[in-house]
Amino acid sequence: MSMDHHHTTLSDRLTFPEDNKIATGFFAAGILGVVLSLIGLFVNTEQFFYSYLTSFTFIASLVLGALFFVMIQHVTRSSWSVVIRRIPETISFQLLWLGLLFVPILFGMEFLYEWTRPERIATDELTQYKQPYLNIPFFVIRNVIYFTVWGFLGYKLYKNSVAMDLSDDPALDKKQRVLSAPGILLFAFTVAFASFDWLMSMDSHWFSTMFGVYYFAMSFQSILAVVIIIVLYLFRKGLLTKTINNAHIHDLGALLFGFTVFYAYIAFSQFLLIYYANIPEETLWYYYRFEGSWIILAYLFLIGRFVLPFVLLLGKKAKTNYKLLMGVSIWIVILQFLEMFWIVMPILHKGAISFHWLDITLLLAFFGISSGLFFRHFGKHSMIPKNDPLLAESLNKH
């Protein structure tokens, strides 16, 4: 074997090719989705808001997962991830305007959240009891706080990183850690409470203290899949092939494998505790989500989101098998959308899975615009943090 442990220099082109039209394609799909969805808003307003919340929580989970990924790399000062870090950094930069996409939900609260309906408040004792927390002004204030915190972290971490491309100032690297350490603490609280507000409060009687970590577990498993998809897409375009090596891919695969187990552990624990205690007010959430054909999705998550990726990614060689990794990653992202669908939709459609065309058009709108924004931004700067002090170490990863 030759001495491949000596290369430390960058020999790839570092900018995303300008003639690549993928961002335009995504934007076109996104705009088509927006237009069709706006028609749907007038055709079926209630369905629109449920589909909107599904796609919003799906995209939010990916973008938030990316923010956590970036912060954990800074806090641990990891060198391995430097060559791929610009990808999650660019994704979490979108947190800057994620709050704008939340605004429409405020107009659909009467459809989505039963605790906002006056007749419900008047007659339901438990809803009255929860009023100090579950009321519209406080809901809005909380969401303003979440999006401010996330927007600030996503924006700062990205801006510092691209500023470092042009300067050798070691203070910038330190700033990233100083931001990330308290950032992770804030992230834990804001994501947990956001998931309580957005999703858990839809069943206003129901509560699960694990719901925040459940949302996080899903989001982190999915973002690892997304990062793998993007890296393998770049490879397919012949980009960064000499910068990102199989050792990086292997570690991403190993993380995806590990957080597949973490997801299963959290999702199953939440179910098992409620199933075993068998207290009516807790079991009701699962009752609606197991009723009729909805149970098919529950089994799909067990088999498709845990057993299948676990078995497929168990071997060492599997974690560097590009085709397999790409397949498993795309599959996990699809299941992440379906799991959001499974959490949100049984409230509107009790007893049977019911797909509406708005589910697709809103997914198209969110996914198209978000992906378009990602590639537009990704093309503006170097695809890797080229001045990072740990870059050489990352390039030398075995």
Partner: protein, 179 residues
Amino acid sequence: MRSNSNQYGVLAEFANPADLMDAASAVNKAGYKHFDTYSPFPIHGMDDAMGLKESKLGWIVLIHGIIGLLGGIALQVWSMDIAYPLHISGKPYLNFPAFVPVGFAIVILLSAFGAFFGLFALNKLPRLHNPLFNSDRIAKATDDGFFICIEATDPVYSEEKSTAFLKEAGAIHTEIIPK
């Protein structure tokens, strides 16, 4: 050719990790199978340079894990449904969701046993004495020494030729290790 029956092998010292890696690669290419390298720290890429195959440990752990899973489920099915069926808050005797934590724990337990004792066996432990300790220099392998030892059990081994080969590969010192 003299008999090598009283020899453990030939030990060669190299100046630095890069030389060691080049030498390991050369020894591997020359067709030697029974040899090992010794260094104060792990050297990335050494497995490939030595031509080592994937460790069997993963398979040992996997088999133990599968036995643990099947055994854990079987234990609960037998005890909860056959030997001592007991009504617990209206749930069925064959209550698979409730079997998961115990099944999981036994998978982890047996996998850990498999990993620990498997590693023990693959490293031929317990081993009270290694003939390499007959050399005074080998102690440097815990500090600043980089060594290759070609063992006498190797079919290609010959005292003179192997020693000459290692010297040519850049060894700064060689010696024959008695058994």
